[in-house]
Every structure is written in structure tokens, then in C-alpha cells.
Symmetry: D2
Subunit: 294 residues, 4 copies
Amino acid sequence: MTLTLDQLNAMSRDDFVTALGSIFEHAPWVADGAAARRPFATVADMHRTMLDAVEAASAETQMRFLRGHPDLAGKAARDGALTADSTAEQAGAGLDRLSEPQYARFHQLNTAYTQRFGIPFIVCVRRHTRSSILRQFERRLTNDAAAERAAALREIGLITRLRLDGTVDGPGKPNVNGRISTHVLDTHMGRPAEGVRIDFFELQDDGPETRLGSTITNADGRTDKPLVGDQPLRIGVYELRFHIGAHFTRRGVPAADTPFLDIVPLRFGVAEAEGHYHVPLLATPWSYSTYRGS
Amino acid sequence: MTLTLDQLNAMSRDDFVTALGSIFEHAPWVADGAAARRPFATVADMHRTMLDAVEAASAETQMRFLRGHPDLAGKAARDGALTADSTAEQAGAGLDRLSEPQYARFHQLNTAYTQRFGIPFIVCVRRHTRSSILRQFERRLTNDAAAERAAALREIGLITRLRLDGTVDGPGKPNVNGRISTHVLDTHMGRPAEGVRIDFFELQDDGPETRLGSTITNADGRTDKPLVGDQPLRIGVYELRFHIGAHFTRRGVPAADTPFLDIVPLRFGVAEAEGHYHVPLLATPWSYSTYRGS
Amino acid sequence: MTLTLDQLNAMSRDDFVTALGSIFEHAPWVADGAAARRPFATVADMHRTMLDAVEAASAETQMRFLRGHPDLAGKAARDGALTADSTAEQAGAGLDRLSEPQYARFHQLNTAYTQRFGIPFIVCVRRHTRSSILRQFERRLTNDAAAERAAALREIGLITRLRLDGTVDGPGKPNVNGRISTHVLDTHMGRPAEGVRIDFFELQDDGPETRLGSTITNADGRTDKPLVGDQPLRIGVYELRFHIGAHFTRRGVPAADTPFLDIVPLRFGVAEAEGHYHVPLLATPWSYSTYRGS
Amino acid sequence: MTLTLDQLNAMSRDDFVTALGSIFEHAPWVADGAAARRPFATVADMHRTMLDAVEAASAETQMRFLRGHPDLAGKAARDGALTADSTAEQAGAGLDRLSEPQYARFHQLNTAYTQRFGIPFIVCVRRHTRSSILRQFERRLTNDAAAERAAALREIGLITRLRLDGTVDGPGKPNVNGRISTHVLDTHMGRPAEGVRIDFFELQDDGPETRLGSTITNADGRTDKPLVGDQPLRIGVYELRFHIGAHFTRRGVPAADTPFLDIVPLRFGVAEAEGHYHVPLLATPWSYSTYRGS
């Protein structure tokens, strides 16, 4: 259920803490502190005030707060002991469906990280694929303590911005969503390619790809909905596979049993969770091109 | 050891049959018949004469000849009971390394084919990948007997043309070889992309890809040797993977942790075993194109 | 001043003929006949009814009607003796600004055409460039009389459809407009190219090009308005010239005094007056591509 | 008539000076000084020795030498008073065929330059188009005297390197030639485009283009000879015009009276007189691309 900023500005302090107390993991004191600073003109102002409260807290309070976060793919997750938000966030990145070796790798990284920094590894998993989480994990293990505490707080900013986005409506909501879209142009015939099947995959560094879905191009050579939209993009590597050989066969273009182009894969990386990645395909039976468009 | 056409024209009939008796599987009578038609002006003439002898033979002789061929991935192959040529040919297409389900599929197809046509399935395996052999197998099972006998004889023409090519030197040798080549142009900098790693794979309809090799582009953006050359191409589907992200990083182009383009796959089909497939990549960090070139 | 279909359906017969009598050149009888068939549900129905009246007229009436049209770039035009519609239409295609040799060519074609067919050459000039009119003229001179009378009536359908489009508002207006648009993508940087100057020309078969205008791309690499819109496209050949060298210089890309790419011309033909021609440019300092997009 | 380096090393001092005395304009003393330094192992060594002699000469001698050069498109050229080499060089850049306004512009620049620097403007015209000469002229007029003397000596190095190249054969000849080539690929059919007419133009900043020639692509989509080869490229701007519409019509591709692509212009700049500019066209009836290839 979504609340409006007006409602939040108007409600009692207790109701405010009830409504937003779980935005910061196990830290209702953040909402409590913010309640006194109302009214907020924008959602972004409210979020900024909450983050300022965390940054202004004593080192000890901050550490207790950071320690209150769960491990990724850790024991708490396996035992069903996470908060509802954390459960959903970890599942979204596939961390609830790891193979034993993958689980072991997370376990090893969690242990190493906690030994080094005294806190669990915190990352905004809704902005990452599993492979990207592992890359972050390994890179951040090489940070020093100060840099790493700053990194953890930045990620908490991203996590809570997303949690607020799903909880509060009102002016000044920051953009948290990205978009992946495509467009298929048949440059053999000089018009949009209609009816082309596109399979969409997330690739993994260490295992088989994940099929995210399939779609068919419409009369304008586009898909009726973006491939991903209305949510942050997960940083990672993707592949679109266009069934272009079947398209040209339907259009009556003669082709060999084994056509030169049949299924065309376009592989691309997403680095900006809030970015727009437009990845078109321009194809003939003998050539194709792609580019990051707009 | 290669013989010249002059030597073959000059030698005794017995020596000629010894030299070429195994070109047609278990059928030295083909060479024997051709010996009397010497001298041959070209290798192609000699081959044509041998094929004419097969075509002129009685239906009974032809059937006995066709039946003399081994099953693909059959019991004889497993037991080491093939001729040396057949052993090498079947191994080249990977038919000696089948999984149990793949072996079972061949067994089932062999049985169905033999029941229907009374002869083993004959195909010039040196011109095919395993996937392509299976596609041929299934397609030809739908032929009628006459069409299928013609198909088998055509394949024998291709098999023996290749065996002759490896045995005889002389004028008029038909071209039996194809070529796959590539070229990487860095259209960000306007020059050939040097030092780009390229991995080269054969894809399979029903299983994991086979890595055929890796290479690095030279100063002209090409590979020192073609990816495939001096042999027939195997009809099938291939994928080149260009490590273009690493190239741009080496050239100092700024990139995100997860660059838009890192490994670029180009997937293409080969339908002409004797064709030249030039498959270049033109790339920037944000776009690429490919085409069948020349 | 635009009238609504409702108004036209409701007004007196005389007012109707006054309002629409000049749609068909010197032939108020067409409007008069249509007045009796009111009310019309759509503008297209009204137009169809008027055209049916012309087609149903006697051969003699038709000929008189056709003969009532003016020559293109003829004596009447020079003397200011055209109807207001014809004057504007001929000026729009530049027929009022011909050089002496061009005028002579039209005169010669008009004479040949009238001698052959007994009527003036009729073409919907608002859908053509001067070069395209001349091509039509020469092609249609080779028609026989029946084919040419049909061609003339088809053109009258196009002329009057456009005149109605400017006179009447209401449901069922046929689409008479086309669009030319562009988009500049900088595939060196992976984003839209902003601030690129584009000059836009109409090319002529027999003389210097005509500059139609210049524009600058916006932040999305597009132009704020289409290059041509809200009117029929003139069939003919066009050239866009993109000042892409200056763009890369502004972006800090090093370039030679004489860069490889400076002004990039894209030349394309328009065959469909009501079509959408989207002609994007994808460019790096060393490469570019274009295509008919959507 | 070409002499070998061996012959030049072996001949008498007088013969040497006779043979090479005109390489440096009106300065046989340069050859005379070099004669004493024989034998030369390479042509480049001989050239270097001659240039060193000029650089080692007194300021007064250098100025006399520089003043011995003719104006570009100046009175001496009009009166036929140039050396044979200068006459040919200036004609090659079209300086003998100037319009009156163009001649006036050169006259004005010559006057300004001589007043400022006390020497004629010296540039290796064989490496430039007329437009490029004028650009150099205007840019160098802004130099100070020392920079300009250095520029003049550099150009003399380029001029005499080319004169030697046409006079002497032997080891160590520097590369003085560039190349412009093209390749037309029909990506609609997936093969080289044969029989495509290509017109080749030099563009001018201040006047009509110069047609350099026309050619037709061969079966490999290339031209039998490079568009320019075996000579330095003239720095400047060029345009290739490919008659691609006619190609697709010949291949039976249906097209409108006014096809989307008919004559495709590729405009590119040449900045390196000794460079290789490979400018291919990849085209369908609805799209094309080009790039600087290799």
C-alpha cells in the first residue's frame, strides 16, 4: 500500500515510524528522527534527511546499524530469518536459488568480508545481477575500512531510495528506474521487421545463462512493452537473440538449409541501473549492425 | 603419400588398382575399370570416369556397393572395424565422441533408414558438422527410394572427390576447400584492431558448443592464417567471439566496470563447404556491424 | 477559412457550390451535382462522390473539363491568368521561377502533349519537385490516349483531395501528408549527437540544387520539427548534409586539418508523397551508416 | 630517364651535377656539394645529405635559394618562365587553369606573403589540391619568420624527395606514394557488387568540383586499379559517387521510379599524402555504410 507524502507529513509521529520504520533495516530510529523534521516538500528531501541522520550518528551507532544487515545468501536467508524486504530483494537477484558451489562461494566471501570489516557486505541487490554482486564483492574486499564504510553507506542510500519509492508517492520522487528496449529494422526490405521473436537472457560469469523472457516485434518493429522497464536495471551482461532467419523465410527471401544468419545474438553490458539501453538490430540476410541508441 | 596423375597414367594396371582401389569403399572394381580408360588429362576426368562406372553398373552391383558402406557412429565404428578412411572421416565430425543419448539417436536413425532403404545412410561427413549430419539424416529419411539412391550416389561423388584430392596431384584438381576468415576494424580510431583475441566455436543443435580454437589479430586486424582453410568447411553453425572490450581498454578508451560491449559474438551459418566466408567485425565501444564479405 | 463537414452538409445548395465550386478547376458543376447527394458522413465520401460525378460525365463533358486546366509553366501562368489555387500550386514547385531554357523545355513538352492528346498535361504538382514533373511529363507522353486520360483523372483526384484537405474539416479526412525526419547518433561516444548542423537540399536533374533549409540537432540528436511535415512530400531527390566534423571537434576528438569526415552528405529519393522517410545518421570520425528507418 | 644509385655513385662529379643539379630549384650547388660525399648506400641517405647542405648553408645563401623559387600561379608561370619541374608540378594541381578571380586571389596571397617574409610561398604542390594549397597559404601567412623559414625548408624536403623519386632508382627509396581504393559489397545479396559505376571527384572550397574519373567494379566488387595509386595523394576533399540504384535494378530488385538510393555519394578528406584510404561501400536498396578500412 502506497502512502502520499501529504499523508506522511500529516500523521502522528508514531504512525510515521510505523509506516517508514522498516525502510532502514532494523533501524526505526532513523524514521523517528526524521518525523520531527516534517513537513517535507519532496520525497527526495525526506530521504536526504533520513540519510543525514545516519551519517550524523555516532560511529558506534553506525556500526550497530550496519551490523544489523543480513549476509547475502547467508544463514539467515536460508533459515527464513530475513526481513520481508530483504527476502524479496535477495530472491530477485536469484540468491535464493544458488547451487551448492555458488552458495559456498558466497559463504567464503561473507566470511572474508566480515573478518576484514566487522560488518556484513551491503549492496543494493535490486540494482545487480548475481554476477555483478560477486564482482562488487571481490572488488570491495580490497578497500580500506574507511572507503568501505563509505561504500556501504552509499549502498544503503540506494537500497532505501528504492524502498521509499515503493512506499511513498509524492512530488520530487527521484528516478530509480531504467529501461531496455529494442527495434528490428529489415534493411533488406526497408521497413520495420514485424513478427520477429526475440529471446532475452541474463548471462552469468560462472554458470548457465538465465532466460528472462521472449517477445515478438510488432508492426513498427518494436516490442509492445520495453524488455525491462519500471524498475532499476540489474547491472550485468545480457543477450538478445533475434530469430531473424525465420523472419526472412516468412518474407520469401530464398535461403540455404543453413542460412548465413538465423539467430542473431546481441550481447551487451548494463552499467547504469537507471539508464536507457536502446539496442536495435538492423539486418539483412547477410549483414547486421547494432548500436546503443536513444 | 601423394601420387601424380602422370605416375598413375603410366603405372601397371595392378599398381593403379593398388593405389586407388580404396577410393571407392570396398569397391576396387571401380579403379580396375578406370585403369583401362587411361591416360586421363585431368584429375577431374579420372574422377568422372570412376563415377560413370558406378552409375553404369547394374542395379544389383550398385546396391552391393552402397551396402558396403558403414553406418555412421554404428557398431562397426565402435568395434574398430571401419576402413582407415572411414575411421578418420567419422572422427573428424566428432562421431567417435558421442554421448550415450547421441549414440542412441544415431542408432535409431540408422535402423529407421536401413529398414526403409535397405542401405546404410551415406553422407560426405567431411563436409558436415554433427548437427548438420543429423539434419540431413532426418530430411533424407523422407525421400522416396529413387531420390534417395541418387542422393547417396551424389554423396559418394563428394566423398571420393575428397579422397582423390588427398591421394593424387595433377592438373584439373577440382576445388574442394573452403575458407573462413575475419577482419577487425576499430571504427572508433579508424584503423585495424590489433591484438584482439577471437575465440571460435562450432554450435550444436542438441548440446554444448565445441571450441575450435582461439587466435589474435595482427597489425592489419586480420589473423595470420584463416580460421579455417585448406579443407572443406563443415556445414553448420559457428560463432566467433571477439574480445573487443579488452581492446578498447588497452587503447585507453574509458569504460564502465561493465562495458556496453565486452565480448561480441558473431553467429553465422555455413552452407557451402567450398565457399569463402569472410566475416568481419567493425566496432566502436558502442556499436558494431558485420556482413558476409569477400 | 476552413469549413466543417457539418456546415457543408447543412448549408444551402448555392452556398455549397460557392464554397466548393473551385475545388474542381473551372467546374462548379461537380460541386453542384454533389450538393444533391448530401449529407456526407466523411470528407472522403464527399470527395469520392465528386470524383464519381466526373467519371460518370459524358466523354465530351470530361474533355471540356480536362481542357479547362492550365498548362504548367505556360502562357496563362506567365500572364497571371491562372486560378488562385493553380497559381499557388505551380509556384510551390518553382514553376514560376524557371530559367529561359527550362521555360522553353516546358513549352516544348506542353506543345507536344497537347498535340498528341488534345488536353493540357495535368499533374498534382504539390506532390512533385520540378525534376519529377519533367520525368512524369516525358513518361506520360508515351502513353496511349486511354491510359493518359485515366492518368489525368487520377491526378485530378490527387489535386482535388489536397484542395479539399485545405478547405474542409471533419471526420474521414484522408492522410495527404508525408514526413522527412532524421536522427544523429554519435557511435563514437554512444549517445545522441547534439548541436549538429544539418543542411537540407532538393536536387535537380538539370540544374543547381535548391537549399530548403538548415537546422540543428537537439539533445536527443533529433530536430525539434521534422525536416518536412504537415504537407505532401514532393517526389524527388534530396540531400542532407551533416556537419559532423565540427561536432567531433567540439567534443574534443583530435582530427587532422582535413578530417576524414567533415560534411557527410546523405542523398535519398522520395517516391511516396504521403510516406514517412526517417533517414538517420550513425557516425564516428571514421565511419558512418544510414538506412530508411521508422 | 631514371638513373640507378650505383650509376650516380660511379659517375664523374660533373655528370653527377648535370644529372641532379635541377633537383633543388636553381641550386646546382646542392648537388655539387653532395657529389663529394659519395658513395651513398641509399637514396634516402643521398637526399638527407643534400638537405643537410641546405640547412648548413649561410642564412644569406639560404635566402637566395628560397628566393629562387617561383610564385604559385604567378607571373613567371603565366609567361612560361618556370623550370620544367615547376611547370609540371603547378599544372598538376590545376594552377595553370585558374579563373580570373582565382588567379587574383593567388596574386593577392603571393603579394602579401612576399611582403611579409621576403621569399615566395613554397609548398610541395604535388601533395595538395588547389583548395588545400590555399588553406596552407592562409595558415602560413600567420607564422612568424623563423617558423615560416622552417616550414619552407620542410616543403623543399618534400618537393625534392619527390623529384629524386622520379629520377633515381636504388635501395632505400622512401615511400612517397599513397592510395585511394574502394570496394562495393551488396549486403542485400551477400556478395560483391559487380559492374557498379563509380564517379570520382575532387571537391573545391571555392568552386565547382573536378571530375577525376569514372570506373566500374569488377567481379570482386573492387576496381582493377586503385582510384589513385603510384603517386602522392593530394591533400583535400573527395567524393565517390556509386551508381548503386542501377546495380539493384540490374539484379532485378523492384524499385520505385525514384528509388530510395540511386547515386550514393561518399565524401571524405585526405590528410596523409602517403596514406592508404580504403573507402568501401556496403549497401542494400535501403541502407548503406562506409568506413576507413585497410
